[in-house]
Amino acid sequence: MSRWSYFARRVLLMIPIVFFGTTITFVILRMGPIDPAAAVIGASGDTEAYTSVRRSLGLDQPLWLQYVDYLRDLFTLQFGYSWVVNRGRPVWELIGVYAPRTIWLGFWSVMLPLFVGLPLGFYAGLNPNTLSDYVASFGGIVWRAMPNFWLAVIFVAVLTQSEQLFGFQWESWLVETNIVTPPELQRLWVPENFFGAFKAILPAALVLGSASMGNEMRIGRTAVLETKNENYVETARAKGVPGRKIVYKHVFRNALIPLVPIITGEAFLLLGGSVLVETVFSINGLGYLFYAATINADLPLVGSLMFFFILLSVGINIVQDLLYTLIDPRVGYGGEGA
């Protein structure tokens, strides 16, 4: 089977996954012990309001019809309205407001580990069993065992009191930023704004990317250790290819292949982890919106957001398969080639 038909098959397999994922959400929301209409009304318990909410949510229909409507609305991307958190606002509008912050946070928490963790891992792999290797490896192991929410709490406390603790003020350092507010994302092409937004997100992105950083370091290290001893590297060395060129052309490129699923897998983890980090840093992103919608019983909003997350994660999976198809020519040939 060719690479592209393998890819097409993978994409085709995503359809039932979106379908079943949405069904699970439906089961939790509509068949669980909580009546969405009663939850929206709250404790006030006005019967008239209750029936009208019931009708507009379609809860007076039989369950199978509700299910069909639910699927139809979501698959045609009609996400409906928020009922409690931001009453009457379309969910798409809320996503438009909240998503950029999460994307900004997610982007940097994927990029930072890549540009810090990987080089450290490659360095450790090129200098195995030296003191710096041990320091980097052990640091990576501990760094990835840290719970994000705890690390975030520590970061917030240390940065807000950096004046007393280190005699240097983080908030006014280079650009004026706040620590526990959402970053300003207007006019990012102006260098000043860009740097301000970057600095505002930096602590949160470091926290959210902490586990990935440790992992990428470890995996980068083992990948370099492995490829370093491959035959083609030895051949290149025997041919007299300079050491630096061997490292860049032969070791790094091949060491990158096992890292693709790791990086995309992490991008997905960030969705769930962003709830805690966004709450601690008060970044009003999607994770925070989901949390607020959940504890305020805004179940229609929760359902639409969950569908949005499913689409995102399936999208990330497709990107991963695409990258694999592009990078590794062995993919798709079943057992023989790989």
């Binding site: 397999l13 039932p16 996954i17 379908f19 079943f20 994922g21 069904t23 699970i24 939790i28 929301l29 012990p33 909580i34 192991i141 501990v142 990835r144 065992a145 840290m146 719970p147 994000n148 929410f149 705890w150 690390l151 709490v153 520590i154 917030v156 406390a157 807000t160 009191q161 603790l165 959210l208 586990a211 990935s212 992992n215 470890r218 995996i219 083992t222 990948a223 492995e226 096992p258 699923p261 790791i262 897998g265 997905f268 983890l269 769930g272 982890g273 962003s274 709830v275 805690l276 709450t279 994770g287 989901f290 949390y291 959940t294 019983a297 969950m306 997350f309 499913i310 994660s313 399936v314």
Partner: protein
């Protein structure tokens, strides 16, 4: 006895043939149980027997009441390592003399002594476990050699794995002996402080006074800058010793942490039994039958994995919050169920590869053509190969579950409010991190880091022991497992 006998004998016959080593092990175990018998009976009696008793038919209720009486009596038996034998609660007279503590030691010394004894006791159990494995291997096992011997041998020389095992051992002892390890009890200090009282020496009246624990807690708060603070290894003004300091509410942090360890361990183990069981059954089934079964489970597991784990658990625990299920073990049972239901796809992906590999072996073919039932083939010829891989990922996942539970309780979800959970301590100490009361947030966090590192190290050790060739992690299960859904 002849060799042929040996081959055919069941374990029971082999035991009957040569009872001495087994009896020796049994004697040691009996002694170990005897010194802690009261605590064991206490644990059994603390289960919700009332519910069971009420469900029994009338004529059995009388008998049940008698048994309950005997049980309560047994629960009252003195145990070696209990609070009442080595007591650390007491008060200091102006002369410097301690009253009420074990042999007049200072509370700190008495508490340390008890902790040391409990850990020594736990360590003896560990040694006995190892010894009984040796006895079984040398005296009662069919085979002189089995692949597992090599794995155990490799693990024994794996210092990183042993380091992990030591940490996990310390964590499990902390969780199992939580009521005896804390300087005070959850009941007296955290749950019902106004139903319990303590004695202290008052300088004002010049005599011994009594005070409600709740009132005493009000005077032992840790509230950072300018406020009061009782830090780690300090006494409060009522001569109570706090190994980890106090919470902002004045309650003892160590007691809180020990009880929280119990909750975390319960949720972790229960959810893993569920997820691991499902993962193994599915992995064996998909590897044996392949085809449509495999595709169906791939889609099911991918669908579950497409939902962000932490968010689903958050949502489901909110939806279930009003039901009877949410009150079982203060919400622990629901969390265990949810972590199990959302966690099996990760474990299944991890063991699917090895299961597929073993299903290609010729002995599976032989068993099939021989007409062996599929379930027997799976259990006898595939399971032993898969279990080791499951252990690796189970160890990594346990750390992730602990982080996930702590993250949820940090947000105020999951475990119901007054029940101790590590994340709640981090949340309580959040405003005081950069103040003298730093211990409230920092110590629980550091403990989580240590425990999770321990589970990761144990997982690495098992991997190297099972499969010394594969020191590269090519899959992504590793890291997703250890990250607890990104908490």
């Amino acid at each position: 006895m002849s060799v042929v006998d040996d081959e055919d004998a069941t374990l029971r016959e082999r035991l009957a043939d040569e009872p001495v080593p087994a009896l020796r092990v049994l004697a040691v175990v009996a002694v170990l149980v005897a010194v802690e018998f009261g605590a064991l009976a206490n644990l059994v009696m603390s289960l919700p027997w009332d519910a069971v008793g009420a469900a029994l038919p009338g004529f059995l209720q009388g008998a049940a009441a008698t048994i309950a009486g005997v049980g309560d009596g047994l629960a009252g038996l003195p145990t070696l390592l209990s609070r009442s034998v080595i007591d650390n609660a007491g008060y200091q007279l102006p002369s410097g003399e301690w009253v009420g503590t074990f042999m007049g030691l200072s509370p700190a010394a008495a508490w340390l002594l008890r902790v040391a004894l409990i850990y020594a006791y736990g360590f003896v159990w560990l040694l006995v476990g190892w010894w009984s494995y040796l006895v079984y291997r040398d005296n009662y096992r069919h085979a002189d050699w089995a692949p597992v011997d090599d794995m155990v041998g490799r693990f024994r020389n794996h210092s990183w794995g042993l380091f992990g095992l030591a940490i996990i051992f310390a964590f499990v002892v902390l969780a199992v002996f939580a009521p005896a390890l804390g300087p005070t009890t959850v009941d007296a200090n955290i749950a019902d402080p106004y139903l319990h009282s303590i004695e202290y020496y008052s300088e004002e009246t010049g005599g011994v006074e009594e005070i409600y624990v709740g009132d005493a807690n009000g005077e032992s708060q840790s509230r950072g800058q300018g406020g009061e603070n009782v830090g780690p290894m300090q006494y409060d003004q009522y001569d109570r010793f706090h190994p980890f300091g106090t919470l902002p509410s004045g309650k003892d942090l160590f007691t809180f942490m020990a009880a929280g360890a119990r909750v975390s361990l319960f949720i972790g183990v229960a959810s893993l039994v569920l997820a691991g069981g499902a993962a193994v059954v599915f992995a064996l089934a998909t590897a044996y039958y392949k085809g449509l079964v495999d595709l169906g489970i791939v889609i099911a597991s991918d669908s579950i994995q497409a939902l962000p784990q932490l968010l689903v658990i958050m949502l489901a625990s909110f939806v279930l919050s009003g039901t009877w299920l949410a009150n079982l073990y203060n919400g622990g049972v629901v969390l265990a169920l949810l972590f199990g239901l959302t966690g099996w796809p990760g474990l299944w992906r991890a063991v699917r590869g090895p299961a597929l590999q073993v299903s290609e072996r010729e002995w599976i073919d032989a068993a099939k053509s021989f007409g062996q039932r599929p379930s027997v083939t799976m259990r006898k010829h595939m399971l032993p190969y898969v279990v080791g891989y499951l252990l690796i990922y189970a160890s990594l996942t346990l750390g992730g579950v602990i982080i996930g539970v702590a993250g949820l309780s940090f947000l105020g979800l999951g475990i119901n409010a007054p029940t101790p959970e590590w994340g709640r301590a981090v949340s309580a100490g959040q405003p005081y991190v950069a103040t003298p009361s730093w211990h409230i947030s920092l110590l629980p966090g550091i403990l989580i880091v240590i425990v999770v590192t321990g589970f990761n190290a144990l997982g690495d050790g098992i991997r190297d022991a099972i499969d010394p060739q594969s020191d590269v992690e090519t899959g992504q299960q590793d890291q997703t497992a250890a990250a607890g859904g990104g908490a």
